[in-house]
């Protein structure tokens, strides 16, 4: 041991040498020399070539603009190589806000794309995913007034979808990854399109596993959302004609129950709606008369129940998938991994919707 003590300097020098040796060849690129992909698109053309455009910032003297870098190749990973050939800066993955999938690739299947996302550790798992009409490159290149680029606009728009229309914030990449393969669950993504010289959300894309099998327009999307999601907000209306209607800003909480009767599944969805009256011209004296309020609540309840029950029978078999994630409830009660095809089972099952509606606030007053 004394030898070791005497040669402490020796050990110190060896250690320093080891560290210096390990330093050789280490290269890191500074952040200002990188190509930051704010938005990433995915598309596939008729010749089965993957097209992955990157929307990256470019900084010129106090002005921040963005430009598209295209990568085309027969396989997803090689698009990186192709893209680097056209870039002045080092291409990187990560710091993405939005993934824009075109309808083509959604119908073709997103599995490869999701696979490359899981594999790469730098990907931002909380980026939002949307389906776009047309090509993703057009969507990313579109210049929206007041925003540096369309990706930031879409990012803000999807994040704020949850304010109305009963949308929920479940459209991140990790949500998509979890829902694609989990037993009894299916993914839904918002569809955006360029309409009236702006970008607008026009519906929901229904997925079966990783392929898109249907599109729901906004009316149907609202019903799907209110039945599927918990703790969502939106406006419910009772309208008699263009002058007499009542709007209610509702918060909806949903409970599910599942029973198996004679081999057939029965689902009971209970919606607990709590409304804030936004505008009222239909009912007179609703603020002061107790019975009018009760009648309104009853009317609303019946109306929502009718709306839901009518649509359910259409929804449950139209897309041939379990849109409402009911399979998950059943699996958690009756066993997972049993090989049941929940999509078929749901189509054969009974779904009943019960609604409870109550008014919480009535605003300032009634005109």
């Amino acid at each position: 041991m004394l030898i070791i003590e005497k040669h402490k300097i020796c050990i110190l020098i060896t250690v320093t040498l080891i560290y210096i040796l390990c330093f050789i060849g280490v290269k890191g690129e500074l952040v200002e020399n990188l190509q930051i992909p704010v938005g990433v698109g995915a598309d596939i053309d008729s010749a089965n070539t993957y097209k992955v455009p990157f929307l990256a910032y470019s900084f010129e003297d106090d002005k921040i603009t963005s430009r598209i870098y295209n990568g085309n190749s027969k396989s997803l990973g090689e698009t990186r190589e192709n893209r680097q050939l056209k870039s002045a800066t080092k291409s990187m993955i990560g710091l993405t806000r939005v993934f824009v999938f075109s309808e083509h690739i959604a119908k073709f299947g997103l599995r490869n794309f999701l696979d490359i996302c899981i594999n790469n550790a730098n990907i931002n798992d909380r980026a939002l995913c949307v389906i776009c009409k047309g090509t993703s490159e057009d969507m990313l290149q579109y210049k929206v007034e007041g925003y540096p680029n369309s990706a930031e606009f879409i990012d803000g728009m999807v994040k704020n979808l949850q304010e109305f229309n009963f949308f929920s914030l479940q459209y991140t990449l990790i949500d998509l990854l979890v829902r694609v393969d989990t037993e009894g669950r299916n993914a839904l993504l918002p569809i955006v399109e360029i309409k009236d010289s702006t970008i607008e959300t026009t519906g929901l894309a229904i997925f079966k596993k990783d392929t898109m099998v249907g599109k729901a327009d906004l009316k149907e999307a609202r019903i799907i959302n209110i039945l599927k999601e918990n703790n969502v907000k939106g406006i419910l209306t009772l309208q008699k004609d263009s002058k007499k209607f009542i709007n209610c800003y509702t918060v909806s909480k949903r409970k599910m129950k599942c029973d198996k009767i004679n081999g057939k599944y029965k689902f009971i969805i209970t919606l607990d709606l709590k409304g804030n009256i936004v505008s009222n011209e239909l009912y007179d004296n609703i603020n002061n008369d107790h019975t009018v309020l009760k009648k309104f609540e009853e009317d609303m309840k019946i109306d929502v129940e009718k709306m839901c029950n009518e649509s359910i029978n259409k929804i449950k078999c139209e897309y041939k998938t379990d849109v409402l994630d009911l399979g998950r409830i059943a699996a958690s009660k009756y066993g997972k991994g049993t090989g049941t095809d929940w999509n078929k089972v749901i189509c054969d099952s009974d779904i009943e919707v019960n609604v409870k509606f109550s008014v919480i606030t009535e605003g300032r007053g009634d005109f």
């Binding site: 560290y19 550790a121 798992d125 979890v178 037993e183 669950r185 009660k333 066993g335 997972k336």
Partner: protein, 377 residues
């Protein structure tokens, strides 16, 4: 002896830092640090593969293994408080066979060390430092680790005590995921059948390996009566950590998705959003690396101390320095994670069975020869 006098004696015992004894806290945390290693990151996958959403029950069952070891160690400590298992095995099996068995026992620690280290290097190169090569990570990281092992058991004990609180932070933070997952992922409980649960618990036992160090270091504990309590406390802490991690993964990711990841626990950390930093991953990786370094340095100490006890002529410090290149070479041989896992799955179960039988035979022979003055040349 007056009460005052007794108090003086007890105080004297506590303050003797120069004796190489560990306090109860340090002992518990040393044991805990050697068990919570790289397996924490991928344990959900091992059990989910077989028992699906009841993986956490398998892990609870797997805790029987360290419990058993604690009880045996307590029994040995009562009879031979000053002799660690290497000395006892020589007494039991005779010098020659005892030494060979001792070497196999010590080689278990060496093997576990290289597995952990290689696993750690793989994780870190994927999630943190993708620009570094394998040898760069190994060479640089092993230096502070060997420094700790060089300084001896007291430093190790203190470091583990201080570092325990880091582990707490690591485990507490992911509470945020409770807001996002759902209970449906965990139900139905016992849905996968008792058979599968038991089968998976055999895999879970692998994650608890490392407890064998209690046989080497129980002579170091200050207060021998507390050995059982330390061991039980330690087992419950480790079990709690593993169960919490598994439940969190199943709750948040679900059974199918979690199997897609090699290390699902880090995905949990990724999902927590802290306002200023993008994701929790940076903090998680740093804290976890510190925890992992402690684990590896405890293994390192076990190897060098064990070798020192077998070959008394060479001191533990020299062994620490000699082992450095050996560990680097063996770890580099593993390569990527698939190879590492392949060797782990093949060899660790064999080692576990060997350890169980080795320890049990020695315990039984002590029990039988109790009372007889047992000496073998």
């Amino acid at each position: 002896m007056t009460l005052h006098g007794k108090a003086i004696l007890e105080v004297r015992k506590i303050n003797r830092a120069k004796d190489n004894l560990l306090t109860t806290n340090q002992f518990t945390f040393t044991l805990k640090s050697i068990m919570v290693g790289i397996a924490t990151l991928s344990i959900p996958n091992t059990v989910i593969k077989v028992s699906k959403q009841d993986g956490w029950i398998s892990i609870l069952l797997g805790a029987l293994y360290p419990l058993y070891l604690v009880i045996i160690a307590n029994f040995m400590s009562k009879n031979f408080p000053k002799d660690n298992i290497l000395v006892l095995s020589k007494k039991c099996f005779g010098n020659f066979i005892g030494s060979i068995l001792n070497f196999i026992f010590i080689s278990f620690f060496l093997f576990s060390l290289t597995l952990e280290f290689s696993g750690y290097s793989n994780v870190f190169r994927v999630y943190g430092v993708s620009f570094l090569k394998n040898y760069q990570v190994l060479l640089t990281a092993l230096i502070p680790i060997s420094f700790v092992a060089y300084k001896g058991i007291k430093t190790l004990g203190r470091l583990n005590e201080v570092g325990f609180y880091l582990t707490i932070a690591l485990i507490v933070f992911p509470i945020g995921i409770l807001a996002y997952g759902s209970f449906y992922n965990l139900m139905p409980v016992f849905g996968s059948g008792l058979n599968n649960v038991v089968k998976a618990s055999k895999q879970a036992v692998v994650a608890y390996s490392g407890m064998e160090i209690i046989f080497l270091i129980y002579p170091f504990i200050q207060d021998r009566k507390k050995l059982l309590k330390c061991g039980l406390l330690n087992t419950s802490i480790v079990t709690f950590i593993y169960v919490w991690v598994t439940i969190g993964t199943i709750y948040y990711l679900g059974v199918e998705t979690s199997q897609k990841y090699l290390w699902p626990v880090i995905t949990l950390a990724d999902s927590i959003q802290i306002p200023v930093i993008n994701s929790f991953r940076y903090i998680f990786i740093t804290l976890f690396s510190l925890v992992e370094f402690k684990c590896i340095s405890t293994f390192y100490f076990a190897v060098s101390y064990g070798l020192n006890q077998s070959i008394k002529k060479v001191s533990a410090k020299i062994f620490t320095i000699l082992l450095y290149p050996i560990i680097i070479i063996i770890t580099m041989l593993y390569g990527n994670i698939t190879n590492t896992n392949y060797y782990a799955e093949k060899l660790v179960p064999i080692y576990v069975i060997f350890n169980l039988t080795y320890v049990s035979i020695i315990a039984i022979s002590i029990y039988l020869k109790r009372g007889v003055n047992y000496r073998k040349a």
